[in-house]
Amino acid sequence: MTEKMISLLFLIGSLTYLYWAQEFTFGTLGSPKSGFIPNLAGFTALLLSLLLILRQFRSKKYKNKEAVDWTKLLFILIGLVFYLLILNMAGYFVATFIFLFYLFKAADTSGWCFPLVLSFCSSAAFHLLFTYYLKVALP
């Protein structure tokens, strides 16, 4: 099921890409312009994804991968998005601290004290490492 969805996604993706690529001139074989490779690549992708979907409809089999905890995935993704949003507002240290704590709990780490302390120390450590030692500008 997922497999067919992914192939469909690629199909739609290639179509969209091709559509946008039309605004670039194609040029000729002797003098390709900026639309040359995009158009070719887009068409090839379109073709391949079509073939893929056809093949998937013909043979139904696909070995099932391990079961996935979709709820957990959702939680993690929400956490990630949240992290990215508050990174600029709250600054690196605070945002990372909250994010780490959230993830630790989402990953079923027991207790409250340990994750809190660990998040605090880790955020501090990362902040120090990146900002002072490596002179990287963090939000």
């Binding site: 997922t2 992914i6 490779i37 391949l48 990630l80 600029n88 989402a106 990953a107 490596l134 963090l138």
Partner: protein, 505 residues
């Protein structure tokens, strides 16, 4: 031999305590840079440039060179331990190194990677010592048409590297090419597919994509396993090092990788990354256990790691003998040289031989130092793996994201890392391999550039284009290999069909 004398002279220069100290500092920093995802060689050297003004030129350069090749040693560490490539060139090590780690063979993988890097690094240095000037000249003969041919043949052959479905791999490769077209195109001066978002002009950074697809993707997979995954069984000392069988299987790949990496490193572009992919493909082809690749084949670690290290030595050749940087890291090295008043180029060897040979000798010493430093650390690193997943994964996630941000100081990059992380997670579940996408991303621009520039040079004449001696050789060799592959596939296909037919009766 004259060269040997010069080399010994160089050794005497590099053993001076101050130079030795800067060599050690350099390789240590390099290893750290390699281990930390995101921080790359270019940024590290750029950051240290101002600090180096007070140092003696030779010492400073030895340090910078140390950082450069040190980072390739460290890059494989995170690839093997947590499936996050510390360096773009270590992406391939994730493919088999990480599965090995999951099986408890992390120590072996790390050891083989360190030793392979050392052996290949030395091979590369020998090549550099003996063959620098003629090789540089040979590299110059490669023009845009030749790069196009290399990219084309490379794309077709390399996209079949991993996974079982050629169709899926091909699709991923083409998508990689499509992604590579997004951004400001230096060939035409316009931005493609950017929709007015200035930040997209930069295009997709290989590291960002790799960290997302491999790193975050794996984190998502690991964190969402339904059945509680048992921790990696406690590792005995014996497990820290490779078994005899693993050794035997790795020796030839190391040497093969060393030579391949050296040859590929002479050419412009992300040489180390490309050479590791080529080595992987080679090893898979020549291996007696090709089905193991992707699930923990030791050759898949030995070869590519060796390749990307000897590629480093090779990239120094155009830099030192011509003064031309062929990739980002050598460009910053060049700047480092110039700030200290040294202009590498044809006159460097004759005007400042003590610098040239001292530098090369220090690279040999640095390689040894790296081996000495890295091997004992393996024990430490493997201990890290014992951390329960629910603590390790969040930390890795943060390190990856922070590292990703530090590349371009861009929030958009982080969004991409997350997006590709989700994509990587989904793709893994349905059998789409991410590595052809990386190949497409890396080779796509080469393909386009080679084609456009080449055709201008050949006045739009395709025939002139493909009959240039080097280009013609590459294209014909490639065509032969592709046809051969097609033939074997076709025969197998036919045989299978005949089998099915006879079975029916």
């Amino acid at each position: 031999m004259d060269v040997l004398n010069l080399l010994l002279q160089g050794v005497s220069v590099s053993i001076i305590p101050s130079n030795l100290l800067s060599c050690t500092t350099g390789v240590l920093i390099g290893t750290l840079v390699g281990v930390l995802p995101g921080i790359d060689t270019v940024s590290a050297i750029a950051l240290l440039l101002p600090f180096s003004y007070g140092m003696d030129s030779t010492a400073a350069l030895i340090m910078f060179a140390g950082i450069y090749y040190g980072s390739k040693f460290g890059g494989s560490t995170t690839s093997i331990l947590i499936n996050v490539p510390g360096e773009a060139a270590s992406v391939v090590t994730c493919l088999d190194g990480y599965p090995m780690g999951q099986k408890g063979r992390a120590g072996a993988a790390l050891a083989i990677s360190a030793i392979g890097s050392f052996i290949a690094g030395t091979i590369g240095l020998i090549g550099l010592t003996l063959l620098a000037p003629p090789l540089a000249q040979a590299a110059l003969a490669f023009g845009p048409p030749e790069y196009f041919s290399l990219a084309l043949v490379g794309l077709i052959l390399l996209s079949k590297l991993t996974g079982t479905s050629t169709l899926k791999s091909a699709l991923m490769a083409v998508i990689g090419i499509m992604l590579s077209t997004i951004g400001l195109d230096s060939l035409s001066g316009i931005s493609r597919f950017t929709f007015g978002i200035d930040e997209l002009d930069r295009g997709f950074d290989l590291s960002i994509l790799a960290m997302g697809l491999f790193g975050i993707g794996e984190i998502l997979t690991a964190m969402t396993h339904v059945d509680a995954k048992p921790n990696i069984p406690s590792v005995r000392f014996r497990d820290l090092y490779p078994t005899k069988e693993e050794w035997q299987r790795s020796i030839t790949p190391m040497f093969r990788g060393g030579i391949v990496g050296f040859l590929v490193g002479l050419l412009p572009g992300p040489a180390a990354t490309i050479s590791s992919f080529i080595s992987y493909g080679l090893e898979k082809r020549y291996s007696k256990h090709p089905e193991e690749f992707g699930h923990g084949a030791i050759e898949g670690v030995a070869g590519p790691e060796a390749a990307n290290n000897s590629a480093i030595s090779a990239t120094m050749i155009p830099l030192l003998s011509l003064g031309l940087p062929f990739c980002g890291a050598t460009a910053i090295l060049l700047s480092g040289f110039m700030i200290h008043g040294i202009t590498p180029g044809p006159s460097l060897i004759t005007e400042r031989p003590e610098l040239f040979w001292g530098l090369i000798a220090s690279m040999y010493i640095g390689n040894v130092l790296l081996l000495v430093i890295n091997l004992p650390l393996i024990g430490v690193f493997v201990q890290l793996l014992k951390t329960p997943l629910n603590i390790l994964m969040p930390l890795v996630a943060v390190v990856t994201l922070t590292g990703a941000y530090s590349i371009n100081n861009s929030m958009l990059d982080l969004i991409w890392v997350t997006f590709f992380g989700i994509l990587g997670f989904l793709l893994q579940r349905v059998g789409f391999e991410p590595s052809p996408l990386i190949i497409g991303l890396v080779l796509g621009p080469e393909l386009e550039r080679g084609l456009t520039q080449g055709l201008i040079i050949c006045n739009g004449n395709i025939w002139t284009f493909i009959t240039r001696p080097i280009a013609a050789t590459i294209l014909s060799l490639g065509a032969i290999v592709i046809l051969y592959n097609f033939f074997t596939w076709f025969t197998k296909f036919n045989n299978k069909r005949k089998e099915l037919d006879t079975n029916r009766y």
